[in-house]
């Protein structure tokens, strides 16, 4: 038995220690907002926060989590920066199929929490780990700028 803290709730689990956090969240805890896209940390759809840092849950064995706090897309609803991102996301409408979007938002949220006025390169550096096949990068970029209160370029 191990215990992890997900969205401020402590959860006791009887799972193999090498089971990736992604599958623990989706199949054991039942939080399906975190998505499976590639399984090897290349696409970003499975991004969650571990002590506030954006990580790829597909590539972290649950046994390595220890007492670090896990936050998923389901656990950020009250966060004021998430609310700003949500509003900005509705303004620029990057969502098409939507599959990558929770992961993108988790990275954007971690970025803005650490750096409230990221410059162009900082946004791109943070977000380049994500794949969106619908090609919505431009709108995501703009949404992050709006959420951060930056409006620099045309």
């Amino acid at each position: 038995m191990i215990s992890i803290t997900v969205n401020k709730k402590k959860i006791e689990l009887d799972v193999p220690l090498d089971m990736p956090l992604l599958w623990v969240l989706r199949d054991i805890v039942g939080l399906t907002g975190t998505k499976y896209g590639c399984g090897i940390g290349l696409c970003g759809s499975c991004t969650v926060h571990l002590d506030g840092k954006a990580v790829r849950s597909c590539s972290i064995p649950v046994g390595d989590i220890g007492n670090r706090e896990i936050v998923t897309i389901e656990g950020v609803g009250e966060d004021s920066i998430f609310q700003k991102l949500l509003a900005a996301w509705k303004e620029t409408e990057p969502t098409q199929c939507g599959y990558c979007q929770p992961g993108q938002i988790m990275t954007a949220l971690a970025l803005l929490k650490e750096n409230d006025k990221p410059d162009k390169n900082e946004i791109i550096e943070a977000m380049t780990g994500h794949i969106c096949r619908c090609g919505t990068y431009q709108r995501i970029y703009k949404a992050i700028q709006i959420a951060a209160g930056i409006m620099d370029e045309a």
């Binding site: 199929c97 090609g135 990068y137 970029y141």
Partner: protein, 721 residues
């Protein structure tokens, strides 16, 4: 007749809602099924009553539900189709519930029998819905007006509708729900008056997508997120070599993994059923499988291209001859003859959500939870394969994580159903990313040969276009416009004596499917390359050169709009250049200018993509923009990097590290300019993809002083270096 009306009221009383035509309430149970059968289909069919109204359900409490026949794959069709219905019915878009629902042809007036309203492909959803959805909603609105007027015994011209209410003189108002129980005594109007476009309150105004909130909060249910009581996870292991069969399996190690429920087998695959995906995957790794070994193991990429090349000497079928010149000049007599060969690589769809489906056989029924672009065909295939009545194949729709043609493929669902039938519980089948790539229905490789005759002024006198293909794909649904001619028979130019024929070559044993932009992507790459190439020989500006080829008015307007917004010919030499391409396809016109750079350290940068589009009357402007932006990005990924290689009979690329796609750091600034058009709405979703490769190839070619007749581009740029 009277009797029938009574039975309908009974029906109403039981369900509490009026279901126009033969709509079932979603999640319809057996009792409702029976009621539906009771309400005399044949008689209403004669009266055409069943045509009203498959798209709309109104409850007595004025709750309104829209049933949308199209599959939402990110293109925003749930929003656009709902806008059309809400506008013509005159209700607040925000107050309606929206559901995806299969709608049979006989429920819709004026549907051509071979048309499939539920098939989502070819950028066709809005164009396909534009008439039937407006018709359905307008008929209903007219009948609501008529019912209200009858209640007050006044002329219906004295009433009007407003946001779900009929407003009559002296401030008497009826909610639609209040009128609904009386409406069934009316006949469907023979003809309806659509709203005047100038009066539109919803259509043509940017409307927020109806699915954004749930999607970004992670609350949308995609195929992998489905939870059913007693459900298990299935993982299917099949040979990476198409056609290979199992010789021997040792599953003792796999069985030792806790949580393994069943290990099922057929001659070509093994299905591990476990309590979760991770355990199924772990067990799969421990399977020791001896495959029989198929001759397909010899197959590699170069053999596939060799086979295509052999098509040049094979007999061919003529499909198109645009003989606008009165005299066709024989090739041999022409002043000069160019011969150019075009190769385009095999592609993966690489949709972000790996394929999956949930299937539950019970009580002689097959229930499926799927993300399929072709649900009605799937229903038929399942019914046929398992000898079920179509009514006993029940489809549920879930959210789809991208498709681009991937989910036209049904093989994986049919394969999974074979296993699902062997067990008594629902199974959520999930493919790993690697298995998704390994089993993808590949966009086939393309080889086209052009012979272009020109006169002494280098003007085109004739073009002989030969296409080599593995599939004899004359589109059976629409034989007059074969897939092969997409983007070609509607080319925006008047080229005299354009002759198109195709040869079918010996196909390798691979699973081929449909790619983004279908054959238009192929044809437009060939055609636009030819035009850009010829412009260079004539030392003419490529856009001016196109104008000499007789662009029609809509094409000209699109080009002019683009030129008003872009500084064309900004760069005459050096490491940054602009490339141009245009197309007329799916009823729409698009023109694209790409500004790209090859840096001194051989990095390809795409700075800008400016697009002008005329897609007819625009239903949801912001989403048209988003679709164009996204499809340009998709096309640029394919153009630069998209390439599947086959080694030892298998797809070599198994994850995104081997199959590069554009990311935010590669992202150009995409600007979309839209023509204000009054034509009927036409296709949008794939337009950007169709023109991306020739425009980018043009720009990169100008930088390197050559023409790229093959795709993908990036490796050729680096080879040059």
């Amino acid at each position: 007749m009277k009797h029938k009306k009574i039975s309908r009221r009974v029906f109403l009383g039981k369900t509490g809602a009026l279901l126009f035509g033969f709509m079932l309430p979603v999640g319809g149970n057996a009792q409702n099924d029976q009621l539906e059968k009771d309400s005399d289909f044949s008689e209403r069919k004669n009266k055409k009553q069943q045509y009203l109204n498959a798209f709309i359900k109104i409850k007595a409490n004025n709750e309104i539900t829209f049933f949308i026949p199209d599959i939402e794959i990110g293109q925003g069709i749930l929003t656009a189709a709902s806008m059309i219905l809400a506008e013509e019915l005159d209700v607040d878009l925000k107050s309606v519930s929206i559901e995806t629902k299969m709608i049979e042809n006989e429920q819709i007036k004026n549907m051509k029998p071979n048309e499939d309203l539920n098939l989502t492909y070819g950028s066709g959803s809005v164009a396909k819905d534009w008439f039937p959805l407006r018709q359905g909603a307008a008929e209903l609105r007219m009948m609501l007006l008529q019912t209200a007027a009858a209640e007050l015994n006044i002329d219906k011209g004295r009433c009007h509708t407003e946001n779900g209410y009929v407003i009559c003189p002296d401030n008497q108002t009826f909610s639609y729900g209040m009128l609904i129980s009386k409406i069934m005594t009316l006949d469907i109007p023979e003809s309806v008056q659509f709203k005047n476009r100038l009066d539109y309150k919803i259509i043509g105004k940017p409307q927020p997508r109806v699915d954004t909130d749930k999607k970004i909060k992670g609350q949308s249910v995609y195929g992998m997120d489905i939870k059913l009581s007693g459900m298990k996870t299935g993982y299917i292991v099949s040979s990476p070599i198409e056609g290979d069969q199992i010789h021997q399996i040792d599953d003792r190690q796999a069985k030792n993994i806790p949580g393994i429920q069943d290990i099922l087998k057929n001659e070509k695959s093994i299905c591990i059923i476990a309590d979760n995906f991770w355990r199924a995957l772990k067990a799969a790794e421990r399977l020791v499988i001896k495959w029989q070994g198929d001759e397909n193991i010899q197959l590699n990429t170069s053999m596939i291209y060799e086979n295509l090349k052999k098509g040049i000497s094979k007999p061919s079928t003529m499909l198109f001859h645009n003989k606008t010149a009165s005299v066709s000049v024989e090739m041999e007599n022409e002043n000069k003859l160019f011969q150019w060969d075009f190769f385009q690589s095999m592609l993966l769809h690489a949709a972000l959500e790996p394929i999956n489906c949930t299937i539950y056989f019970h009580d002689n029924q097959c229930e499926l939870w799927i993300g399929s672009q072709a649900p009605s065909m799937l229903k038929e295939h399942i019914a046929e394969k398992f000898h079920l009545c179509k009514e006993n194949v029940i489809l549920h729709y879930n959210e789809i994580g991208g498709s681009f043609g991937r989910r036209l493929d049904q093989k994986y669902i049919l394969d999974a159903a074979e296993f699902a039938r062997q067990v008594s519980y629902p199974v959520n089948f999930i493919w790993s990313r690697e298995a998704d790539f390994q089993n993808d229905a590949l966009r086939p490789p393309y080889y086209d040969q052009l012979k272009i005759g020109v006169n002494n002024k280098l003007a085109i006198t004739s073009v002989h276009h030969k296409m080599m293909t593995f599939i004899d794909d004359t589109d059976k649904r629409n034989p007059s416009s074969p897939n092969y001619l997409l983007g070609l028979d509607t080319m925006p130019y008047h080229i005299h004596d354009y002759k198109f024929e195709y040869s079918v070559c010996d196909a390798p044993k691979l699973n081929f499917g449909s790619g983004q932009g279908r054959e238009a992507t192929r044809n437009v790459f060939v055609l636009e390359n030819m035009i850009n190439n010829l412009a260079l020989y004539t030392r003419m500006d490529p856009i001016e050169y196109r104008k000499t080829l007789g662009l029609d008015d809509r094409a000209k307007a699109v080009v002019d709009l683009l030129l008003q917004n872009v500084e064309w010919n900004k760069f005459q030499s050096g490491g940054i250049r602009q490339g141009f391409a245009m197309a007329h396809v799916f009823g729409s016109y698009i023109a694209l200018i790409i500004e790209a750079e090859i840096t001194t350290s051989s990095v390809i940068l795409i700075h800008r993509a400016d697009v002008a589009v005329d897609c007819g009357f625009i239903v949801n402007p912001e989403q048209v923009c988003a679709q164009i932006e996204g499809s340009v990005v998709f096309g640029l990924s394919d153009a630069l990097y998209g390439e599947v290689q086959i080694e030892n009979g298998q797809i070599k690329q198994r994850n995104y590290n081997q199959y590069r796609v554009l990311r935010m750091n590669d992202m150009p600034n995409v600007k979309v300019h839209m023509v204000n058009s009054n034509e009927s709405p036409s296709g949008v979703g794939e337009l950007g993809t169709i023109v991306a490769a020739p425009a980018l190839g043009h720009a990169l070619g100008l930088i390197q002083g050559k023409f790229f007749h093959s795709l993908p581009l990036a490796k050729q740029v680096f080879q040059h270096k």
